[in-house]
Amino acid sequence: MLMRCVNVSKSFKVGRRRIEVLKGCSIAVDEGETVVLFGESGCGKTTLGRVLLMLVKPDAGRVFFKDTEITAPTREFRKSVQLIPQNPDEALNPRWRIYDSIAEPLRVHGLAETMNEEFDAVAAIAEKAGLKEEHLHRKPSELSGGELQRAVIARALILEPEFVVCDEPTSMLDVSVQAAIVRMLMDIQKRTGVSYLFITHDLELARAIADRMYVMSGGRVTGELRKEELRELSRESLIRCELPRVSARF
């Protein structure tokens, strides 16, 4: 297993109460796999994704990357796992040009030796994501929602990571661009063997891309479906998260 978490839980303080957001979740993602995480709004998908990347420390439970437990994330770990955040409009520094934001991962890890090298890398990934050079010179507030979303996708992919948490990466894209971007993600997967944890609300999209799917509800992982099971499942039962406990593997 490339990435796996065992029994993680997390609670947040909200006002005077504590709310339990994750109540013992375990999921695993294999190399080269696309795993969809599906569940109603507010059930803790984003939080689980962040816990996997150790951006949020779990209260209990353990996270493994390539079978070593991650307690304090190292630079190497940060380089191999990336996040495509849910809200692209808040995910980039509002004062930076898009170009700098996309190039930032390279700079942080010292991967581009010369300016030209950096520029070529940024231009290549931006083009794949359907951004033009004119967009790269603007600030985040001067792009459309979908363009921003593609900018954060480019930023996450520029390091050629091994594992990416894609948190609703196509929520602001029209279906045609969505299809193009998803195709691009799949191409990259074929080439480099990257794994995706793909969070989405779009069942049809999930059906089209998933190798496996986890269903979450109220902070728990309530089901796991293989590709074939996913095809057969009726829309209604999924929407209500009334899942039979399929293949309880953990």
């Binding site: 951006l55 630079r75 990336q82 955040p85 995910a91 980039l92 520094n93 004062r95």
Partner: protein, 260 residues
Amino acid sequence: MVFTGGGIILCILILSCLAPIAGDPCSVNMDERLSPPSFKHPFGTDQLGRDMLSRVLHGGRVSLIVAITISLLSMVVGCFVGAVSGYFGGVVDDVIGRIVDVFMSIPEIVLNIAMVGVFCAVYGVSTFIVIFAVVFTNWVGYARLMRGMVLSLKEREFVLCAKAIGAGEWYILFRHIIPNAAGPLIVLATLNIGNVIMTIASLGFLGLGIQPPIPEWGQILNSGKNYITTAPWISFFPGLFIALSVLGFNILGEGLNAES
């Protein structure tokens, strides 16, 4: 508002730059002592016959340079302390918070006088001591603002995303958080320069500030107080310039505030 404030400040700055044209502020001429404003001496002369125009303009150079230096130094110190305190939180934050509370609870001018008094007693009087003493009390405002800004900025998602790509804590603090606090900081700095001009003038008036023969507005004002009935121009012109420059910086600050 920005233009009015900026205009006033610009005028004063230009006049101060032109100060050498107005002649030597320290050349004594006992024949012309206490002469009222005239064509030769537009602002009159003082008890030693020194040209007031030249003295006020030279004083302006000193006051403005000192005030801006103090403001910038306090900004650097205050921002650093506030940012560290807000970003790392925990014990650091508690300790710094207490110190800030102590400073905030004492009226600034009292603290300044005490500080200058202490430092002067130990090290003797000099311009650097004055600057140091005022910075010592003045950084607190910046620290408070910065801490608040950082507390809200660090919850923003772009900080989390910077972490996700592997950026270090200090990198995030200096490259992402502090630059995004720049707007309110500039507003505060502008308003603060006005305050510092007042503080320096007050210290000068009390004889604790910058020492003669370097001319400085507060100290000129002080020297004129014995002649306030016979030669009011000695006090009037430095007073006017203090008021104008403080007003200028305040209007500019308010204007910048309204725009952001």
